[in-house]
Symmetry: C2
Subunit: 246 residues, 2 copies
């Protein structure tokens, strides 16, 4: 693998660690360094920028978080092979999302029953297909009109208290947030044509493109809940951003 023969330049604006981050990111983002190219060591960068190692380290840590570089002990720091572009999407709580957009929040519980996890839920939760869960189906309303349909499984082995909750006034997402800690979440976003039942609930035509957000939540390594939110596609848009150069 090649090595950089870098001559980094600072732009003198903002904190030093950000200047260093930008200086190192620029040739990577413009494609001048092939993936796998080795960057100078922290020690070398410390001398090049005439600063302390902690400051260099902070810049490199941020670049590693952003996926632009990979760091390996003893071996060094390298330009990441996949320039996977990350983006950070904000997934707000549904109620807050509605209220922030000026709507009046409403909630309707449609179904609630104890049920063994179906195949999809079991796969997402990483539990056996027969594991005991509470299944919930509900609709969130904005100004009285359907906004999003929620279908959820809550693992009873992780959250036994869910068995005693009716959820007829409190949305399950909110109840979980206030009662159950979690440490890790995974999301998937996909597009589906609205099936008859979803279309009826959302008051749209069957077949309308809908955005589905799936989320699975864990506490340590115990799966807590799996939820699918279905939004009418024409009315919803997830946004995010990414600024490795900042």
């Amino acid at each position: 693998m090649t090595e950089t023969t870098a001559r980094y330049r600072l732009d003198g604006s903002g904190p030093l660690y950000r200047q260093i981050k930008r200086a190192i990111a620029e040739p990577i983002l413009s494609g001048r360094y092939a993936p796998g190219t080795r960057l100078p060591s922290e020690h070398a960068l410390t001398e090049m920028f005439d600063t302390s190692r902690m400051t260099v380290n902070r810049a490199l840590q941020m670049l590693a978080d952003d996926g632009l570089i990979v760091r390996r002990r003893r071996s060094g720091t390298f330009v990441a092979s996949q320039v996977t572009e990350h983006t950070v999407m904000e997934l707000r709580d549904v109620a807050e999302e509605i209220e922030e957009s000026g709507g009046d929040y409403g909630y309707r519980l449609l179904e609630r029953r104890h049920q063994k996890a179906d195949r999809t839920a079991a796969a997402r939760l990483g539990i056996g297909a027969g594991a005991r869960t509470v299944y919930l189906k509900c609709c969130h309303l904005s100004d009285g009109k359907p906004f999003v349909v929620e279908e959820r499984f809550i693992s009873l082995s992780a959250v036994p208290d869910a068995a005693g909750q009716s959820f007829d006034a409190t949305p399950p997402g909110r109840w979980l947030m206030r009662n159950v800690p979690w440490t890790r979440a995974k999301h998937a976003i996909l597009a589906v044509n609205a099936a008859d039942d979803i279309a009826a609930l959302l008051d749209i035509e069957t077949g309308t493109a809908c955005l589905q957000v799936e989320r699975t939540t864990w506490l340590a390594d115990r799966p807590v809940t799996f939820v699918v939110l279905t939004y009418p596609g024409n009315s919803h848009r997830l946004v995010g951003g990414f600024s490795p150069g900042a």
Copy 2:
């Protein structure tokens, strides 16, 4: 606003700054601290955890990045009001995405012309509706079958070299990556029903739900490019994760 009367507990596993991060995150994630609750100052936490300020600071910076807390000088550190759940999605380069999934990558340029930005592109790029751009429409193939349709505007004021590129063999995304640096990107994800032309190109039925990923890229504050990728919805899924408790 209330103050915490916290008694944080470390779990003794992993780096200290991660232990501190988890210790502070846990009561926030489980909803025990109302939004706006003030956390102890860095100095106080330094004493509580019997460590140095840099270590506490690192944990707090990470929590702020994750959106769990808000930090204000002179005022203090507070539990964030919206527990907006972030998620980090990886948006790979299309060619790498296809090759990684084992497919054989192909590319077909469908249209290329100089064109003033239309209303959507102008709005996304933040430039006047008449600004000069190159408009491109192309299709990326996996094993010879259509995988995703790309429509793109490249700002000629930011990337004059694009005028001289034919793009008939090199996908514009790859060319841009290798030739034009960027510092900031914004993304939007939505669901649409396939229009006739898109359906024909993707070899799906008109009306099939498709996932659209919009991306706008800037270099400093100059808009570089705006692209819309349209994936057949049933075959594509964006995934991401979030682990504030790690």
